[in-house]
């Protein structure tokens, strides 16, 4: 059957089997490669996207189960139109290899949506599912605090 899912406000259609994870629909079928494959078992957070604003691991959501509107890093902001959070990430020079950063940013976006002024403990709690092998955590933390400040203004 054909599935229609909304990604970043645009309807996409696919006839892939129902059990294909959203991650691989986004990447291989829709060409939205900002969302990354890291582990396939919800252990690293590289594939984090939002469904109706909720941060989910897209490697664990089957195509047939997508329950709402999907948004990905590409929908958060574009190079010529950055979101406040991405601007904070840029200004804090967070990324090293950068492979995990889409997932980190999508996770942080959900945190800030629910907790506009997160404490360090809030950041620890929200971000601990997102692995970074380059060890960019100190700058991720700084960027989240920075974005929270900017969003207040």
């Amino acid at each position: 059957m054909t599935y229609t899912i909304s990604v970043n406000g645009v309807d996409h259609q696919t006839s892939l089997p129902a059990d294909v994870p959203l991650l691989w629909v986004l990447r291989d079928e829709f060409g939205l490669t900002g969302t990354k494959f890291g582990c396939g078992v919800a252990a690293c957070g590289a594939c984090t996207v939002h469904i109706d604003g909720e941060a989910v691991r897209s490697c664990q959501v089957q195509l047939g189960d997508v329950w709402g509107k999907v948004s990905t890093i590409e929908g958060l902001g574009q190079p010529d139109n950055l979101s406040v959070l991405q601007q904070a990430w840029l200004d804090n020079q967070v990324a090293q290899c950068g492979y995990c950063q889409s997932g980190q940013i999508m996770q942080a976006a959900e945190l800030l949506a629910n907790t506009p002024d997160p404490s360090d403990a809030d950041i620890d709690e929200a971000m601990q599912g997102n692995l970074c092998r380059c060890g960019t955590y100190p700058r991720i933390r700084a960027a989240i605090h920075d974005a929270a400040e900017r969003m207040k203004a």
Binding site: C39, Q93, Q96, Y99, G135
Partner: protein
């Protein structure tokens, strides 16, 4: 050269206008430089392989793999500094694999003298040996060598190119080039006339570049100051293209099953997989099976459904078996004794101490699993691969499919972590062989995390035996033996196996280090900081034991020995004393440890604080002080130092690859995890610039992390852990 011309044209979108540059000289001593990969035929004018100007703009070539270390930014800044262009004015591209992009510094690292004692003569020798790198044509990003490699050459490229633009303008205006000024890609005359570099390109191409005196550091605009990374915008918007993201119209997606016992394949039965959704082709690789499908996940599902009988392992079946082989290695003659000062065999008075250390195999565990995309036709192949060694990858991929290497084009996108793993060629050759099964179709072969973790080239396990003598609070003798698999594996004495032990700038009068080799059979490779990842832990742990045996403060004990030998090293430890407020004592429930390792030309000291909590031990704080000679980009240097330390701490706390039945027992991150947001300490990074020569920065932050943590845990608990990972001995908050 027609193929390279093609690459250049495709990669750089060369228009009809002339292409111009200066000539890369300065360190080039051989009359005949390697062929310029951007040079194609008599009708174009590329004079050097690093600067590329046409009417559309200025492109700088940074032929170093960008794996997070910021090399593209600083490499471009080295050229831009002298060229007088701004970083936001230029495009920066990796460029094609080519011998012209040889790594002069990496070859020099294999020389057998003490790095920290390098003299002008030896530095020249290093440059000379670096010429061998040009002949061999290695283009490798590794060994923390990029800045050493590029620092003189790239500034000279920028300066000589700038001067030909000035000369071209001078000729045009009938003025003296010396009276002209340059800024932001513009030549300006005293009377206010201006010409853009891009407009001058064709005329400048006809001029002979000359060697130019380089600007002194106090005149720098870009170097020595933190620059916005040129890859940052792409990396915060998901638009950075990694190997995993390569898209070619009509492409297919594949995955591979390889022998977890790392040998051949007896048979396989793919009947269950053949009819699964999306499957297009089952590929018998001889030593493994690949599935090509319309979607990566469907390929992975089908690959899992293949029933394979693997050949047995050609190495010990269990972890204990490997350690027994290592123990046996001590019975061999020493392979390398690169330091033997004084006489460690004499009879000493004083307190004798001994310690044995045990370190596990480690996986690299990059965030981006191994992958490559290849498009094979009968006569040619194009391969896109995040490789740290693109020339070797190209040649290996060509061999794998039976094409001459000239018929293979290779592109290097961003690397989702390297850490040494991506200097191997296996993921390139696998992708090439898979692509050969479907000529004319681009195929991305993506390894599952499980394949990646179980088919790594591991940091080898190691054992060490150290003994020492303390008299009157002083270290009078240190004698260390380290056994592991050969790390460089070039044959002969492998000093890399004892790097981090033999080359430490401590003035111990009787000081010997011997390396022993054991052939462990299983694939091993370079793991961030290589030999120093092993020796940094055992050597500095032993220094800590010596300090405690001497009844001395561990920081002061090290400091006194460093001052005798190498002032810049002493100064990084003094900096740690200052920044951490080191007093030698801590409140109850808090422990502190310090460690020092000189590696890749850069002395690094780290102090770590740990805290006992109801939920376990928490690593709270890490202070780092390092001296890379010149910090070309302080923000990037800082990131490499705390990133390198975090990589070392992850391994120290929980990194361990084990074997059972000849197979690695770790499959995915839940079995082989790393520090995360809540378990990573806060960092205080201090950069010094007293060292005479420019040092590496991507790796030196890693070696002192494990001993600093173990030393802190000793301070906290009184328990001395001589085996890694430390979660075997301590309960951490995880």
């Amino acid at each position: 050269m027609s193929k390279l011309k093609k690459i250049a044209r495709r990669t750089f979108l060369v228009g009809s206008a002339a292409i111009v540059g200066g000539v890369a000289f300065g360190v080039y001593k051989y009359r005949q430089d390697p062929e310029n990969p951007l040079l194609s035929d008599a009708s174009s004018h590329v004079l050097n392989p690093f600067v590329f100007v046409n009417e559309d703009g200025i492109t700088l070539i940074a032929p170093k793999s960008e794996m997070g270390q910021g090399v593209h930014t600083t490499w471009a800044a080295m050229i831009a500094e002298e060229l007088d262009v701004e970083l936001d004015q230029v495009n920066v591209l990796h460029g094609p694999p080519a011998a012209a992009y040889f790594n002069s510094a990496l070859i020099g690292l294999a020389l057998p003298f003490l790095d920290y004692k390098v003299t002008g003569f030896q530095e020249n020798l290093r440059g000379y040996v670096g010429e061998a790198g040009k002949l061999i044509g290695i283009q490798v990003t590794g060994g923390s060598t990029s800045m050493k490699d590029g620092f003189e050459r790239m500034r000279q490229v920028g300066a000589s190119t700038r001067e030909v633009f000035k000369q071209a303008a001078a000729d045009r205006w009938g003025l003296n080039a010396a009276d002209l000024t340059t800024k932001a890609g513009l030549v300006t005359a005293p009377d206010g006339r201006e010409a853009k570099y891009t407009e001058l390109a064709e005329e400048a191409a006809k001029l002979e570049p000359r060697e130019v005196e380089l600007r002194i550091a106090t005149e720098w605009r870009l170097l020595g100051k933190s620059q916005p990374r040129i890859d940052m915008l792409a990396k915060v918007t998901g638009t950075a293209e990694f190997g995993a993201d390569i898209h070619v119209p009509g492409m297919k997606f594949a995955t591979v099953r390889m022998n977890p016992k790392r040998s051949g394949m007896v048979r396989f039965d793919a009947s269950a997989a053949e009819n699964m959704a999306g499957v297009e082709r089952i590929v018998d690789l001889g030593d493994g099976v690949a599935v090509i499908a319309g979607n990566t996940w469907l390929a992975m599902q089908a690959a899992d459904a293949i029933d394979v009988t693997w050949e047995a392992a050609n190495y010990p079946e269990t972890t204990d078996g490997f350690f027994a082989a290592l123990e046996d290695g001590f019975a061999n003659e020493a392979n390398a004794t690169p330091r033997d000062e004084g006489d460690v065999e004499q009879v000493f008075e004083g307190t004798r101490i001994t310690a044995d250390y045990k370190l596990p195999f480690l996986a690299h565990s990059t965030m981006e699993p191994m992958n490559a995309t290849a498009l094979y036709t009968q006569s040619a192949m194009t391969i896109w691969v995040g490789s740290q060694a693109p020339l070797m990858a190209r040649d290996a991929a060509a061999d794998a499919v039976g094409l001459p290497k000239e018929s293979v084009d290779l592109f290097v996108p961003y690397l989702g972590g390297g850490f040494g793993r991506r200097s191997d060629t296996d993921f390139s050759t696998v992708a090439a062989r898979v692509a050969k099964a479907m000529p004319g179709v681009a195929i991305k072969t993506m390894w599952s995390r499980e394949e990646d973790m179980r088919h790594d080239s591991y940091r080898p396990a190691a054992l060490a035996r150290f003994r020492g003598v303390i008299k009157d609070g002083q270290a009078v003798m240190l004698d260390g033996q380290v056994v592991s698999k050969s790390l460089l594996d070039f044959g002969g004495a492998d000093r890399e196996n004892v790097s981090g032990s033999f080359d430490q700038p401590y003035g111990i009068p009787n000081y010997r280090i011997r390396g022993y080799l054991a052939d462990l059979g299983v694939p091993t490779g370079y793991w961030r900081s290589v030999g120093s990842s092993i020796n940094g832990f055992v050597f500095d742990s032993f220094m800590d034991e010596m300090a405690h045996a001497a009844g001395r403060d561990p920081l002061e004990f090290r400091l006194e020995l460093l001052r005798r030998e190498h002032e810049p090293s002493a100064k990084v430890l003094e900096a740690i004393k200052e920044t951490s407020g080191w007093t030698g004592s801590t409140p109850d429930g808090v422990g502190r440890g310090v460690a020092f390792t000189y590696s890749f030309g850069t002395p690094v000291a780290e102090a770590i604080e740990v805290q006992d909590t109801d939920d376990g031990i928490k690593i709270t704080k890490c202070w780092i002080a390092a001296d890379p000679g010149i910090a070309l980009d302080p923000s990037i240097v800082q990131a490499q130092l705390f990133g390198g330390a975090t990589y070392g701490l992850s391994a120290a706390v929980m990194g361990e690859i084990t074997f059972a039945d000849g197979e690695v027992e770790q499959f995915n991150f839940p079995d082989y995890d790393a520090l995360r947001m809540h378990t990573t300490p806060t960092f205080d990074v201090h950069i010094l610039q007293n060292n005479r020569f420019i040092g590496g920065i991507g790796e030196p932050g890693t070696p002192p992390a494990a001993p600093a943590l173990a030393n802190a845990l000793f301070d906290l608990t009184g328990i001395r852990a001589r085996e890694l990972p430390l979660n075997k001995t301590f309960d951490f908050i995880l």
